[in-house]
């Protein structure tokens, strides 16, 4: 049924998706907050940059990340000068790429949730002596919970499902960068259809269950 390398790919995929999602929630929150509140002229531009991964083919993103994070690219120069080496072909590199690639799927639901809250509850909290940080924790986060649930599920699921970017910068190294989607591709290309089916069916089932959970638990959080 499933080989050791398949299981290793599954484990790696879940590690990648979990770490990526966690990072995305941390990074995505201030970005979403800024996008939801700002009246800056930059709002459109920043919003568009965040949304780019939705429209760009993954191979394009992967190629640019490969160049940017490579030894001669700007990101690569930075990571080298920090003593971190270069990121392609490493798990850390996959995390960085996945964070960028899944960013809109986390930022947009949170941003929508923040926008739906509006100004009023924040003003009310301020007149009730809550500082801005206090307000964020005691009012904004609880009210944005559906948005966070959607963001978590979509960010996780999208990272599990990503393929093109991982293919471009991962190098298909067992236990390090060979995730399930790449493993399936290899099985299919090598015409090992039986193994491909097991993995692919597992992924379909997983994605279905996760979306089912999202739509049943969170009927209002469907907008992305």
């Amino acid at each position: 049924m499933l080989s050791d390398t398949d299981w290793s790919a599954i484990r790696l995929t879940f590690e990648l998706a979990s770490i990526t999602t966690l990072l995305l929630l941390v990074i995505g929150t201030p970005i979403a907050w800024w996008l939801a509140r700002t009246r800056s002229a930059w709002k459109g531009a920043i919003g568009a940059v965040v949304a780019l991964p939705i429209v760009l083919p993954p191979t394009v993103i992967g190629f640019y990340l490969l160049v940017a994070m490579g030894p001669n690219g700007p990101v690569g120069q930075l990571t080298q000068s920090l003593g971190l080496g270069v990121l392609p072909f490493t798990f850390a590199g996959l995390v960085v790429a996945s964070v960028f690639y899944s960013l809109p799927f986390v930022v947009q639901p949170i941003q929508n949730a923040f926008e739906a809250i509006g100004e009023r509850p924040l003003e009310v909290a301020a007149t009730l002596r809550a500082s801005p940080f206090d307000t964020f924790y005691s009012v904004v986060l609880p009210l944005a919970r559906p948005g966070y649930l959607t963001a978590t599920v979509l960010g996780f699921a999208h990272t599990v499902g990503e393929f093109g970017v991982v293919l471009m910068i991962g190098g298909n190294i067992p236990d390090k960068t060979r995730v399930v989607s790449v493993q399936i591709y290899d099985h299919v290309e090598a015409m090992e259809y039986a193994q491909a089916h097991w993995l692919a069916a597992g992924m379909v089932a997983f994605s279905f269950l996760i979306l089912l959970a999202l739509y049943t638990l969170n009927p209002t959080g469907r907008r992305t």
Partner: protein, 251 residues
Amino acid sequence: MSKRFLSLFASLLVLGFATPLRAAEVQVAVAANFTAPMQKIAADFEKATGHQAKLAFGATGKFYAQIKNGAPFEMLLAADDETPAKLENEGLAVSGSRFTYSIGQLALWSAKPGYVDARGEVLKQGAFDHLAIANPKLAPYGAAAVESLTRLGLLGSVEGKFVQGENIAQTYQFVSTGNAELGFVALSQIVENGKIKSGSAWIVPPGLHSPIRQDAVVLTRGKDNPAAAALVKFLKSDAARTVIKSYGYAL
């Protein structure tokens, strides 16, 4: 309608119908690694015969699946010799039409000048983090690379440094962007006018691996197309062979 316009219209009609009377079209699926030489050959072919070769470039495996499912190709220039044979066995290609149009050459290449020496000693020293190869399960060049390393007795020592591209184009990207210090690529990817374009390379001696034959075959749909027959003939001509060799292929 003015007389002038009428005569223009008439001459357009004549032109439009005149071409197909003399020349035909052939739909060709071409392996992605053969893109550059084939574009040159198709242009020469049209000049020499008046026939037109309509080219589609892509992965051989995908073409195979498409042909099996009724894609309108009349000829296939594959990246291997297995796919044309399989098509012939399955009755999707004209039997006896198969021939080797080029033989791929494997090269160990680095984007850094002077990094790869003329005898490939760099592999033995092993002073690198990443060695890029095409996935040996999927790509003939990858299989050839593994075969060569095995013959050299180096597979065990460098295997842990493999980074795999899904195909030879991606492998080339790994090396060209400097993310992998060196890698096994197709010579055709790095030569121009018979010289290495940039970086440093060692052409792996053909004796170290079984030949990377690229076979062409006329598909059932192209059976009676005079343009297909003409293209087969043209690919075997000296003119075409010169072009093919100049792009880094052996024959």
